[in-house]
Symmetry: C2
Subunit: 383 residues, 2 copies
Amino acid sequence: MREVAVIGVGLTKVGHLFSESLRSLFSRAIRGALEDAGNPKIEALYVGNMSAGQFNNQENIAALLSDFAGLNGIPATRIEEGCGSGAAAIYNGYKAVASGVHDFVVVGGVEKMMDTTANDATSIISTVTDQEYEAFLGLSLVGINAMVMRLYMNTFNVDREPFAKFSVQMHENASKNPYAQFPFKISLDKAMNSNPVADPIHLMDCAPLGDGAAALVLCPKEYAKDFTSKPVEIIGAGHGMDNFIFHTRDDFLSLKAIRDAAREAYRMAGITPDEVDVVELHDAFSITAFLSIEDLGFVEKGAAGQLVDEGLIGLDGTLSVNPSGGLKARGHPIGATGVYQMAEIVLQLRGEAGARQVPGAEIGLTNNISGFGASSYVHILRV
Amino acid sequence: MREVAVIGVGLTKVGHLFSESLRSLFSRAIRGALEDAGNPKIEALYVGNMSAGQFNNQENIAALLSDFAGLNGIPATRIEEGCGSGAAAIYNGYKAVASGVHDFVVVGGVEKMMDTTANDATSIISTVTDQEYEAFLGLSLVGINAMVMRLYMNTFNVDREPFAKFSVQMHENASKNPYAQFPFKISLDKAMNSNPVADPIHLMDCAPLGDGAAALVLCPKEYAKDFTSKPVEIIGAGHGMDNFIFHTRDDFLSLKAIRDAAREAYRMAGITPDEVDVVELHDAFSITAFLSIEDLGFVEKGAAGQLVDEGLIGLDGTLSVNPSGGLKARGHPIGATGVYQMAEIVLQLRGEAGARQVPGAEIGLTNNISGFGASSYVHILRV
């Protein structure tokens, strides 16, 4: 297997982009990434998207999007893996380059969610959980997260405040990110007293609905220097999976898919968690962020809140978490999220993250999950 | 790149399978393929499915289906490419083995269409065409096919009879196929006088709606002999693409995506069209079959009807077309169709196709398309 580098990044601001379409968003991100990479000749396209079928009544989107992005003719593959679609597309694009199938590929993630009502969007998002054993019975994704958050709070004797502080930090970071959906700060009081959604989850614990697209250009590391002065190498790629139905799992407070993906990625990269400078993880809800921080091996189980409390996840903390603002405040255009995560890490490792730059970041990690951790991908990058 | 062989095949009968679910169908096909292959240790799963989101309100299906098929833990990738989803999944699985990423992979295609009404299913199928430039204006997939069939009839001075004869042949073949949705013969009179759907397309020119799943086990050719006495090698794999919006294409009577995919596959296989003994092609409508026969290089443009008229596409013809009964009569569970096609060719080349066996078949070809030829995959197999 060959070493693989990211040589181009493109992304759109996340938001309720009513003047943009699925294809216009995607094309914008792809053109951005190609320009950033110095316009190499692209051999294949991988598209991460959760549900253009349900959100936009549009399937067959790899062929459509490649045509509109000016890439007609090359193999174009649309990959769906719920909320993890973006990272799944990266994982497949990475393997294609590493194995020698292709030299230059572009991976794009896109989701155009705001063509539907918020009500419909919530139903559509619940289709990443099991329709026969979970959603059919009224258990939505926020419902699963709420039960786990309650169990976590009881088990580890933690109240809502560290969760609320996490969201405050995400908005603090997003206020410095020009691509963020919510580029403004919120107070701890606002986070604590926002409307309850599914107790103990309040509105400020939840990632919002939004439209967006992001893209990356990958190529063999040996060619990267011809296209950029700052190639960022993918030094680890791991995949994990768990029982699909949540209530059949052994442990409700740990996501096995993340643990397995992280173990594989750390081993491949030859590093330990404490060597990671900056991480973009999947804070669909603040409880998901806490489980991720722990299952990625950064702290012991139950100790994520303490890390937040001590102010250690900020841009100058011991572990900078989601400098982009994360799913909470950068936004969560579902199938694009995994690609946004890696785009952010690439900008951080290049030192091009502007006001939200993590000082001296050299090793970064991304973690994107599907459903409530049915599957997970971890990628580790180094400049 | 390594040589790749198919060592296992599994498939379900196609039909309105109201007692089966998406996961039960898929698991059945996967278990069949694994048993047929002698239960090798599988390293990755590729799932071809068009729209479980719209048909079954279920996304994130690779994780779900791998769990229920007993394959939890390995990388599982769901690939969507409209009606070509099955072949797209094969193409990706094939590349993974050829390039050395994995040794043993299973590719499964599944579509559970009959959980919705026929009306809804027709709308969902139209989401493979462009929602902004085609479907939104009332132009459905059958509408595009009808306009092309009319143009074809006028251009080449052909009437409806050769098209109807094609469908009669498909039912003749299906009557010998235990997996077929419609395992019975129809008369030419019935085909000619079935209800018009979108003039000049009549009901008997159309593939039906149906549920089904099919699966294949792939591995490097060098390992195949340890698992089967009759490995079938994939000697050619080609991909092609066209303008997504039909009315922007240069030629309305030829599908560039098929021509390009076929050229690539023939070149890789080192054969010419006349060396192909048996083909499974994409007869979503009888006009699509005619265009495919021509664009795959078997006859000149406009001459497909003559081939049918002269009785040359039957099981003992010069070019046996769709011994399975094709999309028309074997059935067209959309995301599974490309996998059904290759499963049929494997059975034919092994000499295990029973009453529908093409005598002495040694080289077979599959062609699956998305939309009205927005993209296309051609695979060539040899025993």
